[in-house]
C-alpha cells in the first residue's frame, strides 16, 4: 500500500490549539510541507510572533526563537546577518506586522533583508479577543469598534502588500487566502516561491494570507470562508503584487528576442 498523506517531518506531533476553522493551522501545515519539500528543515529558523500563533514553536519541528510583539523582522535580521546561509522566516499577524511592528517590518523590507515573512491577515486581534486591527475593514464591527470601523476616527485598513511592493528592497509579494482547496494550493505555491527566492538569495519576500478567524468574526467556518470571498478580498485584492525576479527574467528574455 502506498502512503499518500502524512504529517510533514517539519511538524511536531502536537494537536493545534487553534479554534476550529482557523487559518493558522492550515498555513502552519503549508509552511511545514514546503520546508520538507525544499529539504531545508535542518537549516531553517522560524520566528513566531505574539498573538494566536505565539505557540507556533510547539507545532513546527524546526529551530524557533520567540520575538516580542512586532519585532520578528528585527530578530530575523539579526539571525540572517550572522548566519546568511540559513533560511529565516518570521510569522506575523496583522497587529504584529501592521501596527506595533510596522517599523521593524517596513525597514526589514526596505533593507531588502533576505528573509521571508508569512503575514496572516484576519482583520482582528485574535488572541486578545477580537479588537479592531490595523487591517479591520471599514464598518467592520469589533470589540473596540462596536458600531463599525469609522475612517474618520480609526483610519483605513492598512494595505501592507501594496505598500511594501513600492519598496525597491522587496522582491516578491503575493496576497492569497486559505478559504478553499484551490486557494490553499495557490497559497502553498506562493509560500514555496517565497522560500525558494530566499534560498536563491533574491531578497525580501512576503506572503499575505487572508485567514479566517471564525471565533472573532462570530461566524461559522463556512460563513468565514464566504466572507473572505465576498467582503474581505474586496478591500484586499488577491494576486501577485510584485515578482521582481520573474519580471527581470521576462525583460531579459524580451531583450534577447530579435
Amino acid at each position: 500500500m502506498k502512503k499518500v498523506f502524512s504529517r510533514p517531518e517539519s511538524m511536531k506531533k502536537n494537536i493545534f490549539h487553534y479554534c476550529a476553522g482557523c487559518g493558522h493551522s492550515i498555513v502552519h501545515r503549508l509552511i511545514a510541507e514546503v520546508i520538507d519539500e525544499l529539504g531545508i528543515r535542518g537549516i531553517t529558523i522560524g520566528v513566531p510572533p505574539a498573538g494566536c500563533a505565539v505557540l507556533a514553536y510547539n507545532y513546527f519541528d524546526i529551530d524557533m526563537i520567540e520575538a516580542q510583539h512586532g519585532r520578528g523582522p528585527a530578530t530575523a535580521t539579526g539571525i540572517k546577518r550572522v548566519l546568511p546561509d540559513r533560511i529565516v522566516f518570521s510569522y506575523q499577524g496583522d497587529g504584529d506586522l501592521a501596527a506595533i511592528g510596522i517599523a521593524e517590518s517596513f525597514h526589514a523590507a526596505n533593507r531588502g533583508e533576505n528573509i521571508t515573512v508569512v503575514f496572516i491577515n484576519n482583520a482582528v486581534y485574535g488572541m486578545t479577543g477580537g479588537q479592531m486591527a490595523p487591517t479591520s475593514l471599514l464598518s467592520q464591527k469589533t470589540t473596540t469598534s462596536p458600531v463599525g470601523r469609522n475612517n474618520i476616527l480609526d483610519g483605513y485598513p492598512v494595505q501592507v502588500s501594496e505598500i511594501f511592493s513600492l519598496l525597491p528592497g522587496t522582491s516578491y509579494i503575493e496576497r492569497c487566502t486559505v478559504n478553499s482547496p484551490a486557494a490553499i494550493l495557490k497559497t502553498k505555491k506562493a509560500i514555496r516561491k517565497a522560500f525558494q527566492y530566499q534560498i536563491d538569495d533574491l531578497g525580501f519576500s512576503l506572503v499575505e494570507i487572508l485567514s479566517p478567524c471564525p471565533t472573532n468574526w462570530k461566524m461559522t467556518s463556512i460563513e468565514s470562508c464566504h466572507w473572505i470571498d465576498e467582503v474581505m478580498s474586496k478591500s484586499f485584492p488577491l494576486g501577485v503584487l510584485k515578482d521582481l525576479p520573474a519580471a527581470e527574467q521576462k525583460k531579459k528574455k524580451g531583450e534577447q528576442a530579435p
Binding site: I45, Y57, T75, G78, I79, V82, L83
Partner: protein, 358 residues
C-alpha cells in the same frame, strides 16, 4: 602592548571588536554617536563582522537578540532615552538567557533632558530596567583604561552567565581622551548547544520567554534568581582609594568617582583624612565590602550626579552602622573637584560629624 591615546566612545568600540564582537546594531543618539560610527568602520574590516544602523532603538536591541541567539558576540549602545526604548528587548534577553553587551552613555533626564553627562539612570540599570523579575550585570568604569577592560570583561560575563551586561558610563567618559592599553582578550567560552543555527539532522530547539503555566514561570524566576545570587556572590568589584586612615569615606562611581578622587587629593593636601569607596560593579553592588568598611569608619558621603539613587544601595549596605550624607548634582551638571572638596570640608568640620541629608 602599546599605549594609545583614544576617545572614550572609540575605546569601547575597539575593546568590543578585540573581545570578538562581530555584530553591532544601533541608532544615533548623542553623546555616544562615535560608537556606531567606529563600529561601522571596524566591523567592515572584520571577517563576519556585521553593522546595522537600525530604524529604531527597539529594532536595534531585537537585532542583537537575533544575532546573540545565532551565536555572535553582539552589542548595542545608546544614551538614556534610547536605553528606555531598549528595555523591552533587555527584559526579553534576561528571560531567554541570551548574552549581549549594552552600553549606556548617560545624559541628563528625565524625558529628553539634555546631552550633558549625568548619572540619573542608576535605578533603571541596577533594578533590571524593563518589566519582570530580573537583574542585569552593570559595570561602571571611571577611566579610559576601565572602559577598555570592562568592555572586554562584559562580553565574558555575558557569556558565562548568559545575561545582558550593561556598561553604564556617561557623556564625559565617552568624550574624554586618555591613554589606554588593550589587554589580550580571553578566548571565548560559550557552548555550541546554546546557539541556534538550524536543527540540522537533530532535535529542534526553542528559545522563548513565554511560559504560560504560573508554576513553571515561578520556577523559571527562581532559576534566574539563583543565577543572580551566584553573580552577587562572585562578581562584585570595587576600588578602595585612600581609605586606610580615612575618617570620612566618599562613595561614588564613574565620573562621580573621578571628581571625588580630585577632591580627595585637595582635601588630603589640607590634612583631611578622606578616602573613596568606588563600586565598579553597580549590580551586583559591593554590599559586603562597604559594610566591612562601616565597621571602621563612621562617616560616609555619597556623591552622585543625580538627586540620589546609589545612596539607597549604600544605606542598604551600611544598615545604620554609620552616618551617611549625600551630595548630588543632577540634570547634566558636572561639578568640579573643588566644589566637592568644599562640600566635604563643610561636613567634615562640623563637630557633630556628618548629618544625613534626608
Amino acid at each position: 602592548m602599546n599605549k594609545v591615546l583614544m576617545q572614550g566612545n572609540k575605546i569601547i568600540g575597539e575593546a568590543a571588536i578585540r573581545a570578538g564582537c562581530r555584530f553591532y546594531a544601533g541608532y544615533p543618539i548623542t553623546p555616544q554617536n562615535e560608537i556606531p560610527e567606529y563600529m561601522s568602520e571596524r566591523l567592515r574590516q572584520e571577517e563576519g563582522g556585521v553593522f546595522v544602523q537600525s530604524e529604531s532603538e527597539v529594532a536595534a536591541i531585537h537585532m542583537v537578540i537575533g544575532a546573540s541567539a545565532a551565536g555572535a558576540r553582539a552589542m548595542t549602545s545608546s544614551s538614556s532615552p534610547g536605553i528606555s526604548l531598549k528595555q523591552e528587548g533587555i527584559s526579553s534577553m534576561a528571560a531567554c538567557e541570551l548574552p549581549a553587551v549594552i552600553v549606556n552613555m548617560m545624559r541628563g533626564g528625565p524625558g529628553l533632558g539634555n546631552i550633558s553627562p549625568s548619572q540619573g539612570d542608576y535605578f533603571q540599570a541596577t533594578r533590571g530596567g524593563g518589566h519582570g523579575d530580573y537583574r542585569i550585570i552593570v559595570l561602571g568604569p571611571d577611566s579610559a583604561q576601565e572602559l577598555a577592560d570592562l568592555t572586554m570583561d562584559a562580553f565574558d560575563l555575558a557569556d558565562q552567565y548568559r545575561t545582558p551586561v550593561m556598561i553604564l558610563a556617561d557623556g564625559m567618559m565617552g568624550q574624554m581622551m586618555e591613554p589606554v592599553v588593550f589587554k589580550t582578550p580571553k578566548p571565548r567560552v560559550y557552548p555550541e548547544s546554546f546557539i541556534m543555527k538550524g536543527a540540522g539532522a537533530g532535535k529542534s530547539k526553542i528559545i522563548r520567554g513565554l511560559i504560560l503555566d504560573p508554576l513553571d514561570m515561578e520556577e523559571h524566576n527562581w532559576t534566574l534568581d539563583r543565577k543572580y545570587q551566584v553573580i552577587a556572590q562572585k562578581e562584585t568589584r570595587h576600588e578602595l582609594y585612600n581609605t586606610d586612615d580615612a575618617e570620612l569615606i566618599l562613595v561614588a562611581y564613574g565620573t562621580g568617582a573621578r571628581i571625588a578622587k580630585g577632591a580627595i587629593k585637595r582635601l588630603r593636601e589640607s590634612g583631611l583624612r578622606v578616602g573613596l569607596f568606588r563600586p565598579i560593579t553597580l549590580w551586583p553592588f559591593p554590599t559586603n565590602e562597604l559594610r566591612d568598611l562601616a565597621k571602621k569608619v563612621e562617616n560616609f558621603l555619597v556623591f552622585e550626579m543625580s538627586t540620589g539613587q546609589m545612596v539607597e544601595d549604600v544605606r542598604l549596605a551600611i544598615q545604620g552602622r554609620a552616618r551617611i550624607g549625600f551630595h548630588g548634582r543632577p540634570g547634566g551638571v558636572v561639578p568640579t573637584p573643588v566644589e566637592l572638596a568644599n562640600v566635604v570640608m563643610r561636613k567634615y568640620d562640623s563637630k557633630a560629624g556628618i548629618i544625613d541629608h534626608f
